[in-house]
Symmetry: C2
Subunit: 325 residues, 2 copies
């Protein structure tokens, strides 16, 4: 299924390369060990789904200066990557995508500063758009992201939380930035309000689906693919959608809570819980929700002009629910 993402990527390949260059340059010209560490971090980066969305969404109403769209896409991916730096300190994670985190090499203090620095440069990139509303949307998104992280931290081990809490959290964790990635280019290109709204909704629905699938893969993918032990959220007491569905039956809830609460995270019994959930109907229930979100995202696209970027965005949406890593 990876093929479909390739088609979308090909459509904006030149711009994606420019985004990559811009991110590398953005962390340059600083204290040398810091620049080196952050450039390495950027090079080891992920699938670039967010900047791809920004570049595709920017095709509907291109800004007066094409460089502004590149800066925006680089700002969004830089914001994403900089939040990962602090996340790794917060989680004490030494591995991400199977590679050493900055946190594993530097002291926690230096890593906090490196995250701050990277964020500062992301803010510098978005300032380059010189578009007050885009800058405001960016600031507001950062706000939602951190709010989501805090809610996640404070809601851990609350086994009776409603499904809405989960949705609120993954909005902050993922969907808010997806929403920004598809909406901000419309704002930058002064798109008609209805088209900006369609792109915003598309990004929102896609982001929700993306995080649900991530949370499913945390149970179904193997440790090598994940680059970390399966069920890591559950180990930290974070209730994701598969867990939520599994514990809806009271006797199951009691079983899971007892097993998790009375054993340390590294205990083999926790692996057993992960296996139980992996083999349960909760996975398919969660997948149904992800598919429903993607269908809503595809509906949102119907309101937009039928340019090649629209078909590519649909490909990205389909990829998101079918991906296996």
């Amino acid at each position: 299924m990876n093929v479909s993402l390739d088609t979308a990527r090909a459509l904006v390949a030149k711009d994606l390369a420019a985004v990559e260059k811009k991110m590398q340059k953005a962390v340059g010209n600083a204290y040398e060990p810091l620049t080196e560490a952050l450039q390495l971090l950027i090079r080891s980066g992920g699938k670039r789904v967010r900047p791809m969305l920004t570049l595709l969404a920017g095709r509907f109403y291109p800004p007066d200066e094409p460089q502004k769209l590149i800066s925006l896409a680089a700002a969004i991916e830089a914001l994403h990557t900089s939040t990962l730096v602090h996340d790794d300190v917060i989680d004490g994670a030494l591995l991400r995508r199977g590679k050493s985190t900055l946190n594993a090499v530097w002291t926690p203090s230096s890593t906090i500063m490196a995250g701050d620095f990277f964020f500062a440069r992301a803010a510098g990139l978005v300032a380059k758009t010189e578009h007050p509303r885009v800058i405001k949307l960016f600031a507001r998104t950062l706000d939602v992201i951190v709010d989501g992280e805090l809610r996640q931290a404070f809601s851990a081990r609350d086994w009776s939380q409603p499904k809405e809490s989960y949705y609120e959290r993954i909005y902050g964790k993922t969907a808010a930035l997806f929403e920004l990635a598809t909406r901000a280019p419309a704002a930058l290109g002064d798109a008609p309000a209805a088209h900006e709204e369609a792109l915003r909704r598309f990004g929102y629905h896609l982001g929700m689906a993306f995080q649900i699938v991530d949370d499913i893969l945390d149970f179904t993918a193997d440790e090598k693919t994940l680059g970390k032990p399966a069920g890591s959220d559950l180990r930290a007491g974070i209730i994701t959608l598969p867990v939520y569905f599994y514990i809806q039956r009271p006797e199951r809830r009691q079983q899971i809570v007892d097993m998790i609460e009375s054993h340390p995270t590294g205990d083999p019994i926790v692996d057993e819980v992960v296996t139980i959930i992996r083999n349960s109907d909760a996975i398919e229930q969660a997948h149904d929700e992800a598919r429903a979100f993607v269908n809503r995202a595809l509906d949102d696209l119907a309101n937009l002009p039928a340019i090649p970027a629209r078909a590519a965005l649909a490909d990205v949406a389909r990829y998101v629910v079918e991906r296996t890593f």
Copy 2:
């Protein structure tokens, strides 16, 4: 000498109250424990020198909408306060201004997130100016601040560093934000370039003096006033100006290095080093440099229109070198 700051404060008292309100509001409407903690942090805040400078500097060329200057001043003080949150995590500080830090009450992880959140709201405040150049200056300043913090962390215990390293570090630590505080209002009010430059230089020189005096007070003020043990930077191996001057004589350097390097920070021998430096001529040498910076700041003011705010800025400058806490 505190009287002179009172005169300046009185000139912008109404605006300062609006800044306070705006900061309180900026951290509102979030996850409740977070809002409470940050509102408490803001209430326990310092002398408000930075927003005072912004409001006074804004009197030369007021922006079209007065609220934009209030937002800018609130953004600058919010940025200052949010950097303190991460500083406290980084230093492991449990006290600041004699009061418990957020870090002393919350987990380090939650405190990192709280700092991120506060910073996001600061970015939201500066976005309200809707002035692309002001927003860019703000982003660039954050960048310089974090760069300075990293340089400080990595230059610790380098006993042979040149005086320029110290100046570079305190530019990042303090003067960059003072520079922003006096320059950004000029940019916001579309002041003539020469006047923006005069205000920038004034802020820069004043900020340098301010930090030198802070570093002197770290030796001369008592623990109760400081809210932390005297000589705390030296204990962490950070070489400030009094230390720099003291160790210029090779035999003194050897003595200090031996005493510091071979004893833990809490050791009584470190108190002895603090006393040696406090009673040496290094304090007066550092004070001379602070006075020289303030004189340059006062010279910068001569290039600006003679309005009441100019006299008030001069008062603030004189206060900065004479203050005893």
